[in-house]
């Protein structure tokens, strides 16, 4: 309790000092002429925020880029591109070794078949020379699944932390959004909607570390002082350690990654559901009514009226999830610690930092930043549109 009381006292003192300073300077400004007041006061209001952002975010971000081009663990040995060439040349970071296996993987073949199905179905519905008709459920579902399957085939075959990180993005952003969309549509047509939504949304409130513990009791193998996980109860063969990928009869690696991603989908599907659900309720009823009067059935109303209206919301959900997942750390750290072929970029940032290798750590951080940049660009564009 002592720690809490002393912290609270310190914070109160700090707030009183800062608040007092802020008030004092403001009262001082009241005495000045209107002209000086208008010039200085805005900076008094935004000053603390700008200074803190500069010290803790802007300057550090620039310095992190700088450190990634400096020699030595601490960045005190001149300029070099060694960190970039070494890390990007390392097979544990990004490897193309097994790229030949992609074409023969079952997921890839499945993806190609679905692609053909989707194109055929889409062409049939389309007006002459108008490309593909994506309002056709078969076409859009087949094409969507095909894309997901091909990307998963590529990213589960190629190994290294960057590929693994991208695999995370595709699986979690893709499947959580799909689940969220499906749940939102189901909830829209169900009774007692709000209770169901609350229960599905609940994992969003707890920590990723807590979620990792919850799922440990789904994935555990029996024995060694721990209880049997639910999944191993249902699994007919030898018990599998789903997180580390090992079992009596071989290994499921790299698909153990998938079981960690499932935890993230469990958390984020609720988020996607809530956002998309709000968007669906925002679609004016008249649009659907008009389509029904014109003879559209329920499926057509959904695929050709509702879905196009909420496309921008779905894109927001996907970009948001992508940014979140590119930085995924807690779940990997709390389940495998990055062992068993499950490492990701943010875990490398932590590991190298803990080992005192500040320059490698910075290089990994910049890699995450580079992957986030395209999405940041889209966000700025959207925000600018909102500001104006």
């Amino acid at each position: 309790m002592g720690a809490l009381i002393s912290t609270v006292v310190n914070v109160v003192i700090a707030l009183v000092i800062v608040g007092g300073l802020f008030t004092g300077l403001n009262l001082l400004l009241n005495k000045l002429s209107q002209q000086w007041d208008d010039r200085i006061r805005p900076w008094l209001f935004i000053g603390p925020a700008v200074i803190l952002l500069m010290v803790a975010l802007v300057v550090p971000a620039v310095r992190t880029v700088f450190l990634s081009f400096r020699g030595g663990n601490r960045g005190d040995q001149g300029y070099t591109t060694d960190h970039w060439t070494t890390l990007l040349g390392s097979k544990s970071v990004i490897s193309f070794e097994r790229s030949g296996d992609i074409l023969t993987s079952r997921l890839f073949v499945l993806g190609i078949i679905l692609l053909v199905v989707g194109i055929v179905a889409g062409r049939r519905g389309a007006e002459r020379g108008a490309g593909l008709d994506l309002g056709n459920p078969i076409a859009s579902v087949a094409l969507g699944t095909a894309g997901l399957a091909v990307l998963m085939a590529v990213l589960s075959t190629l190994r290294g932390v960057i590929w693994n990180n991208l695999w995370w993005v595709v699986v979690v952003a893709g499947l959580a959004t799909l689940f969220g969309l499906a749940l939102a549509v189901l909830a829209d047509r169900s009774s007692r909607e709000s209770i169901a939504k609350t229960l599905i949304f609940m994992p969003m409130a707890i920590s990723l570390v807590g979620a990792a513990v919850i799922w440990k009791f789904i994935y555990d193998t029996p024995g060694a002082g721990q209880s049997e996980g639910l999944l191993n109860l249902l699994w007919p063969g030898d018990p599998i350690d789903f997180l580390r990928g090992t079992s009596g009869s071989g290994t499921i690696a790299p698909w153990n990654n998938f079981f960690i991603m499932v935890i993230m989908i469990w958390i984020q599907a609720g988020f996607a559901m809530v956002v998309i659900s709000a968007a669906i309720k925002g679609v004016p009823d008249e649009l659907g009514e008009a389509a029904r009067v014109d003879g559209a059935n329920e499926a057509q109303v959904f695929w050709r009226v509702t879905l196009p209206q909420i496309t921008s919301t779905i894109l927001v959900v996907i970009t948001t999830l992508t940014i979140t997942v590119l930085k995924i750390f807690d779940l990997v750290k709390a389940t495998t610690g990055g062992a068993a072929d499950t490492d990701v970029l943010a875990n490398r940032v932590y590991d190298t930092l803990r080992n005192g290798n500040f320059t490698d750590s910075s290089t990994y951080a910049v890699m995450i930043f580079v992957l986030v940049l395209p999405i940041m660009y889209l966000n700025i564009r959207r925000n600018r549109a909102e500001v104006r």
Binding site: A3, A56, T64, S191, I206, F217, S227, V275, F329
Partner: protein
């Protein structure tokens, strides 16, 4: 089908009956998914209440044949965990000591900035605001190494042969303030964005009336804007409090070496990775770390959703 039709007591036409059944299908599927979604948490809750021997002998579903429940795990996790682990009662207090200032301080700083961005005229306002928003998407990993160096060595600039100290060595690493100060900065862009949206939407008449009555910016901010912005402040406060409470990475980087000040998340992972010792306490410890978020979630869900949806792109 015809048999059903003729024997049905209400003599309902098949089409209508099928329709009636079909409209219940979404509800059925939805609740099936809800059950699937809830099973993992429910299983952990049951496990947390079982004695150690029962936990090892079988999964939580064996509660049916072996229905012994006990609070012992909660008691042990809170007050006497096995060697090396901080009692979770202490870690709970540590989490509070980080999350409370990590929520209050950014609100104070952001409210002033948000008001200035919304209702004051100054050069560079537009671009500065866009810059602040852009910060929301910068991964916090970009700040970790420099911030740690700043906390333990200060900031210097060398020009020629002379070195200027910009920020002295404050030796903050492994103290709670290192964590909540970082959270304050990381939370600012979202706080400014949320509060700005709300404050900018307040009716202009209110401000003009106050101006005519002789109020200046400071008076308006203090007496009008802050009270009116309460809903937005509440939404951000809940989001930020949960974010800081649930955070693992920032605490691990800046406080990971100081066991006695470490929050619940760090202690929980320590318990996961300490193979063998105290595994039976893990479910109870997990629930201790989730109590506060769950209470907030179920009691303030409306605000929680608002803050979360607006803040989902936070760094």
């Amino acid at each position: 089908m015809t048999a059903v039709e003729t024997t049905g007591p209400a003599m309902e036409p098949v089409g209508q009956r099928t329709h009636r059944v079909l409209t219940k299908v979404p509800t059925g599927i939805l609740w099936l998914i809800v059950v699937l979604w809830t099973i993992p948490s429910f299983g952990l809750l049951v496990t947390s209440l079982r004695p150690e021997a029962d936990q090892i002998s079988g999964g939580w579903w064996t509660i049916v044949s072996n229905p012994t429940l006990t609070w012992q795990n909660y008691h042990d996790a809170l007050f006497s965990p096995p060697g090396g682990t901080l009692p979770f009662s202490q870690a709970f207090v540590n989490s509070m000591a980080i999350a409370i200032p990590g929520t209050l301080v950014p609100i104070a700083i952001a409210a002033a900035a948000a008001y200035a961005f919304a209702w004051m005229d100054f050069r560079g306002r537009h671009w500065l605001f866009i810059g602040v928003l852009a910060m929301m998407a910068v991964p916090l990993q970009m700040s970790l190494v420099p911030l740690q160096q700043l906390y333990s060595g200060g900031a210097h600039v060398s020009i020629g042969s002379s070195t200027f100290i910009l920020i002295p060595d404050l030796n903050l690493n492994n103290k709670p303030i290192a964590v909540w100060l970082a959270h304050t900065a990381f939370g600012l862009p979202l706080a400014i964005y949320l509060l700005h949206n709300y404050i900018a939407g307040l009716p202009r008449d209110v401000f003009e009336a106050a101006r005519i009555d002789g109020a200046n910016h400071f008076g308006i901010f203090w007496r009008i804007v802050l009270p009116l912005a309460k809903p937005a402040i509440a939404a951000f406060a809940i989001f930020q409090f949960l974010w800081v409470w649930n955070d693992y990475l920032v605490a691990l980087i800046f406080l990971g070496q100081n066991r006695d000040a470490s929050p619940l998340t760090i202690q929980l992972v320590n318990l996961v990775t300490s193979r063998g010792q105290g595994t039976e306490l893990l479910p109870a410890a997990a629930f201790i770390s989730m109590v506060v978020p769950l209470v907030i979630f179920f009691s303030l869900q409306r605000y929680f959703v608002r803050g979360l949806l607006a803040g989902s792109v936070k760094g």
